[in-house]
């Protein structure tokens, strides 16, 4: 991989892997939700959560990466990036945050081994300070 698209192209196989995991998580979550008859709400909650948390994560990434690039902790070969920048950072840097906000919550869904004793959706939203651990 050479040329100004190298950094952008490098993200493609990783985005592909993330998409596969996300689709698997979507299928698993939909199957679980169907047994409780609330698949549509669950999907909307997951999507809106991803969007809101994703926007916050992108903002934090832009600040953080600008600091470490300005301090020259990391540097880029100008020939291998598109040259589109946000402050000091190449836009391609955002690929990490985009992958993270899709991949990690998807893995979280796939690794859920708790069997709900009652429809989880029927419970009131737990107070985060008193929610019991889900692992045993």
């Amino acid at each position: 991989v050479t040329g100004s698209g190298a950094y952008a192209l490098l993200a493609l196989p990783f985005f592909g892997a993330v998409a596969v995991v996300a689709i698997a998580a979507g299928i698993v979550a939909a199957r679980r939700a169907r047994t409780r008859g609330r698949a549509r709400t669950g999907r909307r909650i997951a999507l809106v959560t991803g969007l809101v948390a994703g926007v916050v994560l992108l903002a934090m990434t832009i600040v953080f990466d600008n600091v470490i690039v300005s301090l020259r902790i990391v540097a880029y070969d100008p020939a291998l990036i598109t040259g589109a920048k946000i402050g000091a950072i190449p836009v391609e840097d955002l690929a990490y945050a985009i992958a993270a906000i899709v991949l990690l919550p998807s893995l979280w869904v796939l690794f859920d081994r708790t069997v709900p004793r009652q429809p989880a959706d029927a419970r009131p939203a737990p107070d985060p300070t008193t929610a019991p651990p889900e692992d045993s």
């Binding site: 950094y7 490098l10 909650i45 893995l107 300070t129 929610a131």
Partner: protein
């Protein structure tokens, strides 16, 4: 000052841990599940880093802030902690936002029906 970047990352990770503990967002919600997500996440991004370095896309700049300990050529020890922070921040954020979104969407749905 060598080690300053690592110190900054560690302070940030402590902050994430305090938020996780206080609001039970990730490790304090499901420790084994959180560990599995973190290990796979960090490994995934390390592969991405190593490929980026191998292709010559990014590398360590001319600075005096790193400890100098390398995990691989142009992959500093600090990168491991950076990726931990990326994963922890992502999941703490998700854990914090999700109940808020869920409450609002369910309330909106109840109001419609």
């Amino acid at each position: 000052m060598p080690g300053l970047y690592l110190a900054g990352l560690l302070v940030s990770l402590v902050g994430m841990t305090v938020l996780d503990w206080r609001f039970r967002l990730f490790f304090w919600r499901a420790p084994w599940r959180a560990t599995a997500v973190t290990v796979i996440g960090v490994a995934f991004f390390l592969v991405w880093d190593v490929l980026g370095v191998a292709l010559g896309i990014f590398f360590i700049g001319p600075q005096h802030l790193l400890t100098g300990v390398l995990l691989a050529p142009d992959v500093p020890l600090e990168e491991l902690f950076f990726l931990l922070l990326l994963c922890y921040t992502t999941m703490n954020l998700t854990g914090f936002v999700r109940p808020v979104v869920a409450r609002r969407l369910r309330r909106a749905e109840r109001d419609r029906s």
